[in-house]
């Protein structure tokens, strides 16, 4: 299952890609920004950085069941992301779900600068 995400800047691209991924897993209108966790990652370029970002957030969901809905960036360049990620723990008794995402894949993964900002294409294994 794939997403095409556009953003006016990297912040919008990173936020909307993350929200898009979580929205595949569970409807996000059920969650509040109750708990915050910091994520710091480095990479060689924007494409690698976005891939690492989604992989890290997916790992945090898979192991801690955290669904993030708000992101505050302390630093975001093409080579580094440092963000405070806020969300809520998924509780199968209270929250409805859509589907399990097994992994963020490399297939067709693309981040490009466009006239209006940035665009990413992401395919998830379901």
């Amino acid at each position: 299952m794939g997403l095409r995400v556009t953003g006016r800047d990297l912040r919008e691209l990173f936020t909307d890609s993350a929200l898009g991924m979580f929205n595949l897993i569970t409807p996000l209108d059920q969650f509040k920004a109750r708990d915050t966790l910091e994520v710091l990652l480095e990479a060689g370029n924007e494409e690698e950085l976005l891939w690492k970002w989604l992989r890290e957030l997916h790992y945090l969901f898979s192991t801690q069941k955290l669904v993030f809905t708000e992101f505050e960036y302390k630093e975001l360049t093409g080579k580094k992301v440092w963000a405070a990620c806020s969300g809520e723990y998924f509780d199968p008794k209270r929250h409805t779900s859509e589907r399990e995402v097994k992994a963020v894949t490399h297939h067709g993964f693309k981040v490009e600068k466009t006239g209006g900002g940035w665009q990413a294409e992401i395919i998830f294994d379901i």
Partner: protein
Amino acid sequence: MSEEIKLRKIDDYRWEIPKGTFPGMRVPGMIFADEKLLSKIKTDQSLKQVANVAHLPGIVKYSLAMPDIHWGYGFPIGGVAATDPDESGVISPGGIGFDVNCGIRLVRTNLTEQDIRPKLRELVRQLFNHIPCGVGQSGAIRVGKEDGRKLLVQGARWAVQHGHGAPEDLAHTEAGGVLEDADPDAVSKRAYERGSDQLGTLGSGNHFVEVQAVDTIFDEEAARIFGLEKGQITVMIHSGSRGFGYQICDDFLELTRRALSKYHIEVPDVQLACAPVNSPEGRQYLGAMRCAANYAWNNRQCLMSLAREVFEKFFGRSWQDLGMDLVYDVAHNIAKFEKYRVNGKEKMLCIHRKGATRAFGPGHPELPKDYQSVGQPVIIPGDMGRNSYVLVGTAQAAEETFGTTCHGAGRAMSRSQAVREARGRSIERELEAKGIIAIARGRKGLDEEQPAAYKDVNDVVEVVHQAGLAKKVVRMQPLGVIKG
């Protein structure tokens, strides 16, 4: 639409992609399909993927594709590749898939459709309530660190020793439910974390537990030996290695991507990332992959135990009294070392099966005594609205496909397309009108998994039957299903 690839027709069920079709192909591709299935196969990129797999170092004879082939990450789903470690043959995590040892098991009962039809909805509801399924559901079976390592090495024997099932279940599990030489030290911390609370959980997507009735017998003798008869209720379980296996695949796709340049391996798609079987990276992946395979066999063993508990409570009889014996358990995403004759010499080959099922014929030494005379049961699930099958392996499969046949119906529609097609409809009510009770945890589960999203399993099975890669034994019809 797929890039047009010229196929050479061998016969009504065999199509070759000649070796010279793309520069760098080391062997030809071979697709088992009829005209009808081939026209569907041509709508995605899977034929190109068959040709891509033919580039792998050390690949032997053919890059093979079963009739349920469809597009996958790197390797097609429904693909089979044998590599020769003595000829720099490689192991590729993409040739096994994210869900290592995803597989199917079939449990028989001595119940008939008349026994359960009046209370079917309640039975399915109790299965849904008792078996953890869907996003974020934890399993009730918690495993400590030391015990976790034992589980990864011992395979399903661990589950049986901990009260989940009986020793005779192991004889009816492929490889006895364990791959030897699993290496818990090759597994990342993240994989351990992701697998820590998922033992005995079904997952979501195409995983399910289904209550079925046998509706047709094709081979009386084999059916008798497998303990199957017309009208009998069976329970089918489809799941794999859960987050533990997904993480292992993810970790080693990264490692083998780096190995491509180290070993000067050129592949047409980076998702065919691989490493020589006889390299530190190859050995490390094999050690971790075997842990994931063993986790999956424990998982299906625990899921079967949970299903037996539901039936025991529901009917007030023990599972032994209900005749709930395991017919067989097969893996359909796995790599194994098996011996085959290549150019007149017996060779130990690394067989990648991704969405493909082992199908050993009669007399194979790996089969349990009671199945020696007929061959291995091959369990083939269909979609929620049509049929499932039990086939039996053949000696011909050993000659042609490294002892392999199809694994299911194969998707005909993407998940997004299936959701679009389901708009304004209730798949639950459509199934109910056919007498099938379906309960799913995820809101889109039934839409994405609707029968029309899959090819007709009857067509797929007919091809492998006619081509001699497995023979039909019995067919089941679905009565009730739970999904994540």
